[in-house]
């Protein structure tokens, strides 16, 4: 099995990539090709190398290298040399896409670097996963990340849809990592619900296509820029249905309130690094797709209704998530619901058509949430228990984790001076300026409630007498990445100069 | 020369009047009860006798117990200095009515603490009651005097109680109501019947006497004198109010005013005698209802002051 898979996985794409490099002389293309190459390299490493530890190192190194390459590629955008990194009419990067790509890269690298430690630790557990599953996990993780990069690259709704679908398919194995009954159940729900949702997104895409066809241009188009250009001429009713279906579909993927049902299961059952990936980057992908479509809608005639719908859905999501948070019995589910709450806030930002605020919120949320999930992974490994009641006295028995946990919880729930506070603040400000008074009130209520509740749960974990059955392993190594993330969130809060988004307000 | 005379007279009154007042009260009560009673000068003898004695002090007491009576006497002397309770009183700087009220509070503070100091159940009992009573009577004191200050447009007492100041008809009811409020308040403040029975010998029913149950000798003498002085001052204040009310009708010159003020203090003593012989002591739980009357009168005073001013401005 392994051998054929090896062959299939490595040889073919290697050839493809090599061909690409050969065919294109431009530096960017070659870099891009090498970026695409890296996951295959990882895959090959995952199956060639004997020692898991080595694999971990290689993956960590390669992921950072990939990030570096990407940074190299997108540098011209930020240097202001060019407006869009052109690949083809369907694939190019604008500055905002590049930001998201970089964010995804950072999240992925952090998660995988920490994962190196995590999986080592996992092998020492009383019921360790099979080596094969770990190898597969690494491979799928890398391809999953690649798919997410692709999402930001697509400027064609069709391709966008395909890439999002791929993220689902590639992340299902990550959820299935620990072959337990629970993991199985979670995976099944994730797969089925997201597939159904995504097929509605397909329907929506078709509607938008049709709206273009009937409203404006015969032949129709799915390219974002063309759609935006002809937006006023699009058939409004079709476009409206298109948007609704897409919102439904991608919203399912993003964990919008009534459709979020798969999210807590998947996040809680996946291994900590994968949950970090899911929460820190996959949600952004789904929301980004909604944002893509709302761009088109915003340029069209039916913009107000759509933004109202989105803002209200976001508000409801925030409220519902904060209510869900009240009674939680498992550490990772808690953070999963807090992600849902943040998704609500981002939806509000999208509804306000404030792309950069959406990005800002995404960055802050991803940073905080990744560190939370990684830490919760540590704790779960150290105590061997997932449930909240068994986690007490963390401050007494594992002070470093406790402090980081508290700070990232504050960061995740939007307490100043962390970055999340500022982005939420900006979003609320925007909403206030656009006279969404009720929504602002409700969102503030939701945020406050969730802050209180999360702090209550965290307090239960942190405080109390020392926890006897907690082995405090490698405090520095295991908290390096979270510490990094917390500090960066703090910096985002304090040093977020006006230059960063002077154009956006 | 005149000024010196006034000072001498004033200090004589400060030292001599209080025992006389209490003497009058005791004698009067005795007469009302059909006894001969002790001579008017008896309080002087008592005080001197006590001053001659050494004191016996509970071993649980602290410096508070020892020093409180001194502080009380000092404060009361200062009160006597700033309150125009006699018409021929030298004017004292900063005689503010709020200061007066808080000086009274200071006395009460020290008294209560010294009562608690010995750890005796009686002392604590009485202290709690004293605190409660003063708490209830405080507002009445505040706004009845406040009403007077309102009609004088100033809070410094020598202005408020200046007989030579013009006084409109509208002010007469204010003065009367304030006097009534102050008198009802004084019954509580000086712990007389029907709030407190100073002559009983059952510790559980007493307020003031139980508070000073531990004092003896010189200490007791000072406490007693402080109490007498305070009584004289308060009665003086009330009688001043009455004089203002009357002053609308009769014109006082300085001499008459002086004589009247002294005499009316003794008159207040006689009034007390009458009340103490007619009324019985109230049940403890029903004291708030009694104090409510003082409050009502002070409300009348304030309302009168406000409405009176309104009329004085806009006419009827």
């Amino acid at each position: 099995m392994n051998k054929q898979l090896l062959a299939s996985v490595i040889l073919v794409p290697f050839a493809v990539a090599a061909a690409m490099i050969a065919l294109n002389q431009t530096l960017n293309m070659q870099l891009l090709a090498s970026v695409i190459l890296i996951p295959f390299a990882v895959a090959s490493a995952a199956f060639l190398l004997e020692d898991l530890k080595q694999i971990g190192r290689v993956v960590a190194f390669l992921s950072w290298m990939q990030l570096g390459l990407i940074a190299l590629i997108v540098y011209p955008l930020f240097a202001g040399q060019t407006e869009r990194l052109w690949l083809s009419a369907d694939f190019y990067l604008t500055r905002m896409d590049a930001c998201f790509v970089l964010l995804t890269g950072v999240v992925a690298s952090c998660a995988l670097t920490h994962g190196h430690l995590f999986y080592q630790r996992e092998m020492l557990a009383e019921r360790p996963p099979t080596e094969k599953s770990v190898r597969f996990n690494y491979m799928f993780a890398m391809f999953f990340v690649l798919a997410m990069y692709a999402v930001y690259l697509c400027k064609n709704l069709g391709w966008l849809w395909i890439c999002v679908e791929f993220t689902t398919l590639l992340s299902a194995p990550l959820v299935f990592f620990s072959r337990t009954k629970h993991a199985l159940e979670a995976t099944w729900k994730y797969l089925i619900i997201c597939s159904v949702g995504i097929s509605f997104a397909l329907l929506g895409t078709l509607f938008i296509f049709a709206s273009g066809q009937h409203g404006a241009v015969s032949g129709g188009t799915l390219r974002i820029d063309e759609l935006i250009a002809i937006a006023p001429k699009l058939d409004p009713r079709l476009l409206r249905f298109g948007f609704i279906f897409c919102l439904l579909g991608y919203g399912t993927k993003a964990g919008m309130f009534p459709l979020h049902s798969w999210l807590p299961d998947a996040h809680s059952e996946a291994p900590a690094p994968s949950s970090a990936l899911l929460s820190g980057s996959l949600l952004n992908c789904a929301l980004f797709s909604i944002w893509r479509i709302s761009e088109v809608v915003a340029a069209s005639q039916t913009s107000t209704l759509m933004s109202n719908v989105t803002v209200w859905l976001g508000t409801i999501t925030v409220l519902a998530a904060s209510l869900f948070l009240i009674r939680q019995y498992s550490l990772k589910r808690l953070f999963a619901y807090s992600s849902i709450e943040n998704v609500g806030v981002m939806l509000v930002a999208i509804g306000l058509n404030a792309g950069w605020l959406f990005f800002l919120q995404a960055v802050n949320h991803s940073i905080a949430k990744v560190s939370l999930f990684l830490l919760s992974g540590n704790i779960v490994q150290a105590t061997g228990k997932k449930n909240l009641p068994q986690q007490t006295g963390l401050m007494a028995s594992a002070p470093v984790w406790a402090v980081l946990m508290t700070m990232s919880a504050f960061a995740g729930t939007g307490a100043p001076p962390f970055g999340t506070f500022l982005s939420e603040w900006l979003i609320l400000m925007k909403a206030m300026d656009q006279h969404y008074y009720v929504n602002v009130a409700l969102v503030i209520i939701g945020l406050s409630l969730s802050f209180i509740v999360v702090c209550k749960h965290i307090g239960k974990i942190i405080l109390g007498a020392p926890n006897p059955n907690l082995q405090y392993f490698r405090p520095l190594a295991s908290s390096a990445i979270p510490a990094l993330l917390v500090i960066s969130s703090l910096c985002l809060g304090l040093f977020s100069g006006a230059a960063l988004w002077s154009g956006t307000l | 020369m005149m000024a010196v005379g006034v000072y001498v007279l004033f200090f004589a009154c400060v030292l001599l009047l209080p025992p006389c007042v209490i003497g009058v009260i005791r004698k009067g009560k005795a007469l009302m009860q059909g006894r001969v009673g002790a001579p008017l000068s008896q309080p002087f003898f008592d005080l001197f006798k006590l001053l001659g004695k050494d004191q016996t002090v509970s071993q649980t007491t602290t410096w508070i117990f020892r020093s409180s009576c001194a502080m009380n006497l000092a404060t009361t002397l200062i009160i006597a200095g700033i309150v125009p309770w006699l018409s021929f009183k030298p004017i004292f700087p900063g005689d503010d009515l709020f200061l007066l009220l808080y000086l009274l509070a200071l006395c009460r503070f020290m008294t209560i603490l010294s009562a608690l100091d010995s750890g005796s159940p009686f002392g604590a009992f009485a202290a709690s009651r004293e605190a409660f009573l003063s708490m209830l009577v405080e507002p009445a004191m505040f706004i009845s005097l406040g009403a007077l200050a309102l009609i004088a447009h100033s809070t410094s007492l020598h202005v408020v109680f200046d007989l030579s100041l013009p006084c409109s008809t509208y002010d007469v009811p204010v003065w009367l109501a304030a006097a009534a409020a102050l008198f009802l308040g004084s019954i509580v403040d000086l712990s007389r019947m029907p709030i407190d029975d100073p002559t009983t010998h059952l510790e559980l029913t007493m307020v003031h006497e139980a508070m000073i149950i531990e004092n003896s000798g010189k200490n007791l003498a000072l406490v007693e004198f402080t109490h007498f002085l305070r009584m004289a001052v308060v009665y003086g204040l009330i009688s001043q109010c009455m004089m203002h009310a009357v002053g609308r009708l009769v014109e006082f010159n300085q001499l008459t005013a002086a004589i009247v003020s002294v005499v009316s203090i003794l008159g207040m003593a006689v009034l007390t005698v009458w009340i103490e012989s007619v009324f019985v002591k109230l049940r403890w739980r029903s004291t708030p209802e009694f104090i409510a009357y003082a409050m009502t009168m002070s409300f009348f005073a304030t309302g009168g002051a406000l409405i009176g001013d309104m009329y004085a401005r806009h006419g009827l």
């Binding site: - | 200061l99 003063s134 505040f142």
Partner: protein
């Protein structure tokens, strides 16, 4: 001048930040922490801050934090002027005394709390308050506001194993977060009206600013412990370590009241609705706070409730200042403002003094329960002396500072009444005087109880019997505050001049305050002290009479046992009985024995009081929210068919919206 002041402030903050960072590092590597270093740093910082306040008092200077520090929409900007420097001065004094007090206090908690965390949080807490006082725009304000909240919550739970502290901290966290919510709403609204974040551009004089003003007032009042939002305060303040409760009660409350002054009074609020609402809230909490303080058995919660009372008093002054501004009587408005500021300072001083005293008792007698204390006068003589001074000050007895601010309040109330602007307003201010009178009587009751039961009489427990005097630095801390109390009392007229510029900034044509303050307090102090000294020497000193020691009067039946003294509950019983409906008061007595009518053998009396708002309003709300939380879980029942059903329903709903709208 500006350079020096800003330099001093910045230097202080940096010093503290560095120190807390080092503390954090030490704690991180599990090193033992010596209290001497941080307390010295805190002390030094306090001194520099005091200097900064002195310089800053004469200037009016606005400066932004340098690049790259920036808060998304607004710079991190600070505003140092007369008003803020008065509060900085208060903070500095309290900080100095806390720095003296903390090491000795932490000794007796050393086995319970993590010193590193304690110091780091303390530094952050103080920095937060400093920043809040200086904050010149809304975002900066919120950042420091939340910094205060979080650090103080952590300080409350610094004793990790204490369940009660945990509950208190959680309640406090909830309350402060709700306050933040209100503030956020109010600030956002104001921004959308004024299109600016800086407080100097916010003017509350149009009608449109009514709602944001109300929101802001509520937010700040929650933090200031004003009725009906006070219920968190009696939990949080007693649970914290004594120095922290001193800071919380002494400064934190004042800081939010300062924000009220800064925003609404300086912002020129005119709306009568808001100001009368504030007045009502202030009066109620004035009465409510002291009423509940009276029936407390725990010394610290007694003090906490008393803080509610004083916060109410200050709020009354502020609201009256606003009212005066509204009816165009700036000269009296300025008086009220001065009274408010002055009382803030004074209450800060004596309340911290009292809390430190309570802390001293706590760490020596190991209990704060008045029923178990008593007879400490012999054990902690100096602590008692300072506590008596503090209590006298808080009962506003002359010649201490409590009186000087109370007098100013009475004076301004009287002047307002004396203006006869309208009969109603005069009547209102007269009745305010009446209420203040009642309240001052009650606080006298309350604190005679605290001293009399806590210190006097005979020890009621073994712990109290074996208590010993606290260490010298701890006494020095209390001495400092006590001296401040006396000094501010005696030199009150001069302190009017200190508040002059602040009032002039708020009310253009403010009167010269020092002319208003006519009482020669120093003279009175001297007279009282001198006369009583003379009397003492003449009659009471041991030279003049030989004192015979004897047992307390016990009606001749043997010696009194220590249970034959008044209890705290019994001492306050008059009030509890009289106002029993307000306490939901219930007393259950049980008399047992063979012939229980004539020979009762075992008599038990149980009295209980219940906070009305908490039990009747807040708890039901919390229950409803929890119930909602429980119900929400039913949506997440685990069945995939159900989840698919949600998708269907959402689809239908969205399509209906799409078709109809």
């Amino acid at each position: 001048m500006q350079i020096i002041a800003t330099f001093l402030v910045t230097a202080t903050v940096l010093l503290w930040l560095v120190c807390s960072a080092t503390m954090a590092a030490l704690a991180f590597f599990g090193k033992k922490i010596n209290h001497l270093v941080p307390s010295t740093v805190l002390f030094a910082g306090g001194l520099t801050m005091l200097l900064a306040a002195m310089f800053g008092w004469q200037i009016n200077y606005l400066w932004d934090a340098p690049w790259p520090i920036y808060l998304a929409v607004a710079p991190l900007s600070s505003h140092l002027d007369a008003l803020s420097s008065i509060f900085i001065g208060l903070l500095a004094v309290v900080v100095i005394s806390v720095s003296l007090f903390s090491p000795g206090y932490l000794e007796h908690l050393s086995h319970k709390i993590n010193n590193g965390c304690y110091w780091v949080e303390l530094f952050l807490f103080i920095i937060g308050m400093l920043g809040l006082i200086l904050a010149a725009n809304a975002v900066t304000f919120l950042v420091f506001w939340e910094l205060i909240a979080l650090s103080s919550v952590l300080l409350v739970v610094s004793d990790l194993s204490n369940r009660q502290a945990r509950v208190a901290a959680f309640i406090y966290l909830g309350a402060t977060r709700i306050a933040t919510g209100f503030l956020m709403a109010g600030f956002l609204w104001m921004h959308s009206l004024c299109q600016s974040w800086s407080f100097s551009d916010w003017h509350f004089d149009q009608h449109a600013t009514l709602i944001p003003a109300v929101l802001i007032v509520i937010g700040l009042c929650i933090k200031a412990g004003i009725w009906p939002f006070h219920d968190w305060l009696p939990y949080a303040h007693p649970a914290a370590p004594a120095p922290v409760s001193a800071l919380m009660s002494g400064v934190m409350i004042k800081v939010s009241l300062y924000a009220l002054i800064r925003l609404l009074v300086m912002g020129g609020l005119v709306s009568p609705w808001v100001s009368y609402m504030m007045l009502a809230m202030g009066l109620i909490s004035l009465f409510w706070g002291i009423l509940w303080a009276l029936v407390q058995k725990d010394l610290k919660s007694l003090l906490a409730y008393c803080s509610i009372e004083n916060a109410g008093l200050i709020l009354v002054c502020i609201s009256l200042a606003i009212i005066c501004h509204g009816i165009n009587m700036p000269e009296i408005g300025a008086l009220f403002l001065a009274a408010a500021i002055f009382h803030c300072v004074n209450h800060g001083l004596f309340k911290s003094l009292l809390f430190l005293g309570a802390g001293a008792i706590d760490c020596r007698a190991h209990t704060r329960d008045l029923e178990l204390l008593g007879g400490l006068a012999g054990k902690l003589p100096w602590t008692m002396f300072f506590f008596v001074i503090g209590s006298a000050a808080i009962c506003s007895l002359p010649p201490l500072n409590g009186f000087s601010s109370k007098w100013l309040i009475y004076q301004s109330l009287f002047m307002l009444a004396n203006k006869f602007h309208s009969i109603w307003l005069s009547g209102l201010s007269m009745s305010c005087i009446a209420i203040l009178g009642l309240v001052s009587g009650m606080s006298l009751y309350c604190f005679t109880k605290a001293i009399g039961i806590g210190f006097l009489g005979r020890p009621r427990s073994h712990a109290a019997e074996h208590a010993t005097e606290v260490t010298l630095p701890m006494l020095a801390a209390q001495l400092l505050l006590a001296l401040c109390c006396v000094a501010l009392g005696i030199s009150a007229p001069d302190w009017m001049a200190v508040m002059q510029p602040a009032c002039t900034a708020a009310f253009s044509n403010a009167p010269v305050l020092s002319n208003v303050y006519t009482i020669p307090m120093a003279l009175f102090a001297f007279l009282i002290a001198g006369t009583s000294a003379i009397i003492y020497v003449l009659w009471l000193s041991d030279q003049t009479n030989n004192v015979k020691k004897y047992v307390t009067w016990e009606c001749g039946f043997g010696d009194l046992t220590k249970r034959m003294q008044a209890t705290a509950t019994g001492f306050a019983e008059n009030v509890t009985y009289t106002f029993s409906p307000l306490f939901l008061y219930s007393a259950r007595s049980k008399i047992a024995g063979r012939d229980r009518r004539h020979f009762p053998e075992d008599v038990t009396l149980q009295v209980s009081t219940t906070p009305v708002l908490a039990s009747r309003i807040y708890m039901p709300i919390v229950r409803v929210v929890n119930w909602l939380g429980e119900r929400m879980l039913l949506l997440q029942a685990g069945s995939i068919h159900l989840y698919l059903c949600y998708i269907l329903l959402t689809l239908v709903a969205l399509m209906v919206i799409g078709v109809l709208i």
